[in-house]
C-alpha cells in the first residue's frame, strides 16, 4: 500500500510475473506525477550542467568566465532536475513548507546522477552542504542541502566546517539577478581543508552561492572543488 507523495492518490502497480517474483521497490509517485518530472538529459552546459540545446557553455557560465576573480574556482557543477513548474511546486512544499519526507522522491534520481558524473572522483572527497543561518535552520528544522548530501554518502559529509555569516546573508530567492551577482561572500572557514570538495546545494540559479562557497574552499586549500545540485 502506497500513496503518491504529491497528489495523495493511491498507487496501483500492475502485477506482472517479473514484479511478482522479484518485487521492485515501490515508487513514491504515481505515474501521472512521474511524467511531470523533467530530468536533465542529453546535451548540457559542460560547466554548470544546465540543460542545453547543443554542447558548449551557457550564457551564465560565460559571464562567470569573464569575471576574473571567479575563474578556475569551480571545476564543474552537475544537477539532476530541470526547474519546471511542477518541480517548483515540489521544492516549495519540501523546502519552504517543510515536508521533509519528499526527499524520498529525489533519492533514486540523486544516486543515479551523482554516480554518473562523479564516479571518477578520488574516494577521499568530502561533501560540503551549503549551510543555513541558525535562524533559518530553526524555522525549517532541517537543512535541505545536508539532506541531499546524506543520500549520497553519510560518511563523507563535513557538515559544519563551512560557516555562514548571518549579517551578510539574505534570502537569495527574494533578490534580483543583479543583486545576487553583486552580493558579498557570506561564507568562511575557521580551519584549512586539503581535500577534494563537492559542494551540495538544492538549487543552482545564478551560481552565486556555489561560486562564493567554492572560492572560500579554494582559499582554504582544497585542490579541486566540484558542486552537485538538485536543480539547475
Amino acid at each position: 500500500m502506497s500513496y503518491c507523495l504529491i497528489c495523495q492518490s493511491f498507487i496501483q502497480t500492475e502485477v506482472t510475473w517479473s514484479n511478482f517474483l522479484f518485487p521492485n521497490k515501490a515508487s513514491n509517485l504515481c505515474e501521472e506525477c512521474q511524467k511531470k518530472i523533467e530530468q536533465i538529459e542529453g546535451d548540457i552546459c559542460e560547466k554548470c550542467g544546465r540543460q542545453m540545446k547543443q554542447q558548449g557553455l551557457c550564457s551564465d557560465c560565460i559571464r562567470w568566465e569573464t569575471r576574473g576573480e571567479c575563474k578556475e574556482v569551480l571545476e564543474k557543477n552537475r544537477a539532476v532536475f530541470q526547474y519546471n513548474s511542477f518541480m517548483k511546486e515540489i521544492i516549495s512544499q519540501w523546502k519552504y513548507r517543510g515536508d521533509y519526507h519528499l526527499i524520498e522522491i529525489f533519492k533514486p534520481y540523486i544516486l543515479e546522477v551523482f554516480d554518473q558524473h562523479f564516479s571518477k572522483l578520488d574516494s577521499n572527497f568530502v561533501m560540503i552542504p551549503i549551510p543555513l543561518t541558525e535562524e533559518r535552520l530553526y524555522e525549517r528544522a532541517f537543512n535541505q542541502s545536508e539532506a541531499i548530501a546524506k543520500i549520497i554518502s553519510k560518511k563523507s559529509i563535513i557538515p559544519s566546517i563551512l560557516k555562514r555569516d548571518p549579517t551578510k546573508t539574505e534570502k537569495q530567492s527574494k533578490k534580483s539577478k543583479r543583486a545576487r551577482l553583486e552580493s558579498n561572500n557570506p561564507f568562511y572557514l575557521e580551519t584549512g581543508l586539503n581535500k577534494t570538495a563537492v559542494i551540495v546545494d538544492d538549487i543552482y540559479t545564478t551560481g552565486t552561492t556555489i561560486y562564493h562557497a567554492a572560492k572560500t574552499l579554494k582559499l582554504a586549500g582544497c585542490p579541486h572543488v566540484y558542486s552537485f545540485t538538485l536543480i539547475r
Binding site: 500500500m1 502506497s2 500513496y3 512544499q93 513548507r97 517543510g98 515536508d99 521533509y100 519526507h101 535552520l137 530553526y138 524555522e139 528544522a141 532541517f142 537543512n143
Partner: protein, 450 residues
Amino acid sequence: MKESHYLAGKILLREEINIHNDQFHHLIELGYLQSIPAITRKFHQYKCNRCHTTTLHHFGKIPCSRCQTTHVYCRNCIQTGRVLFCEELFLWTGPDIVWPQQKNPCYWDGTLTKHQQLAANAILHATSKPKQELLIWAVCGAGKTEMLYPAITEAIRHNKRICLATPRADVVQELYPRLKEVFPNTEMEALYGGTGVRTGVGQLIIATTHQLIRYQNAFDLLIIDELDAFPFHHDPLLHQFAVRSAKKYATKIYLTATPRPKQKRLIESNKLKAIFVPIRFHGYPLPVPRLRLELGLKRKISQNKMLHSLEAFLDSHDPKRQWLLFVPTIQLLTPFAKLLEEKGLDLATVHADDPKRKEKITAYREGKINVLITTTILERGVTFPSIDVVMIDAGHDVFDEAAIVQIAGRAGRSPKDPTGDVLLIHQGKTEAMIQAVKQIKRMNQKGKAL
C-alpha cells in the same frame, strides 16, 4: 488587549502566534494560553492534534535539527503549516472577546417570502437556545443566505461569534461581499486557501471548512452551508474541525438542497430537526432536466466528434443567451472548447486548479463570456441570473444524484427569467439521473401544494 482578540478561539502553533516571547510567556502565566502536545502517540498510533488525523501515511519522518532527534511530523497539515512531534499547540483559554455593541447591525432592506420567513424564524428560534441543531432543506435557489440574516443579526446583537462554513472557496468569495453589504459595521473575515480577507479578528467569519483547522471553542453560532458537498461529505476530519471550532453550547445550523441518506435517516428518526423549503424564492418551480440519449457518446467524445444532441441544442438556442456546459473530467475541457469554438461561440473553460478561475467566473457573471465549460466545481453555491445548463455524459460517476439536482438548480435563478433549459446528454440512464429527476419533480409538487 489587542492580542487576545487575535488569539481568542484559536488553536495555533508558536510560529503562527505573532507576538514576542515576553508577552507570550506572560499570557501563559496568566493561564490565557494552554499548551498541548502537537502530536500524541497512543500505542503504535500517532495522532495530530491539529488536524486529528491518525492515518499512518500522513506521518513522515524528519531528522529534526531543533531537538536533534528523528521524529514524525504531520504531512496532512503541510498546506496550512507543518506540525512537528517536538512542538506544542496553544489553545486560547482566556476571556472571550467583547464585540462592539450594535443595535441594528443588519442593513438589508429586502423582504423574505412567506416560506423563507418560516425557515428564518425557525433558525432564529434555534439560535436563541443553546446546543440546538437544525437542518434547513431548501431547494436550489430558495434564497438560503437571506434566511440566515435574522439569526445572524440577533447573534451579533448578543455579542456572539458566528461562522459560516462552506466547502467551496468560490462560495466564500461570492458570499463575503454580499454579507459585507448587509452587515457593514461588523468585523468580518473571508478565509479560504488564497489570500482572502484575513485580519485574525472577525465576529462574522466566512470560511472554507479547511480553514477551521485554526479554531477551537470559538463560535456561538456555526452555520454549515452545503453540508452534503465534497469535500465535507468525504472527509470525516473536516467534520471534526467543525465540531471543535464551535463552543460547547453553540447552535449549529446546516443548510443543504440535497441531503445525503445519512441525514435523511436522522431526519426521519427525529434525531435531527429539519425545516423544509420546497419552493424557490421567486415562487416558480425548478426546471426539470431533459434526458437526451446520444448513441456512441463515449466513442464520439474520444474521437472529438460533435454530438448530435449538442448540435440540436445549439440550433434551437438563442445565441445571445448564456449557458454552462458541465463535463465530467478536466481532460474533456479542451476538446469541447475546440468543438464549440468552431461554431463561433465566445467561451472559456474553468476547473479547480485553474489559476484564472476567479477572473473567468467574474467575466462570465458580467456577461463578457457566453459559454463557460466547467467541471463540477461550479455545481453549487454560485448564482448566475439567467442561464441554461447542458451536462455531457451525465451517466459519469461524478454526477451523482446530488450533483445533478444541484447542477439543474443553476438554471432559472432570476425572478425575471425563472425558467431555464437543463439538458442531460447521456449514453444510457443511470439510477442517479432517474432519482434526481424524481426528486426535482417531487419538490415541485410539494411546492405547488403550498
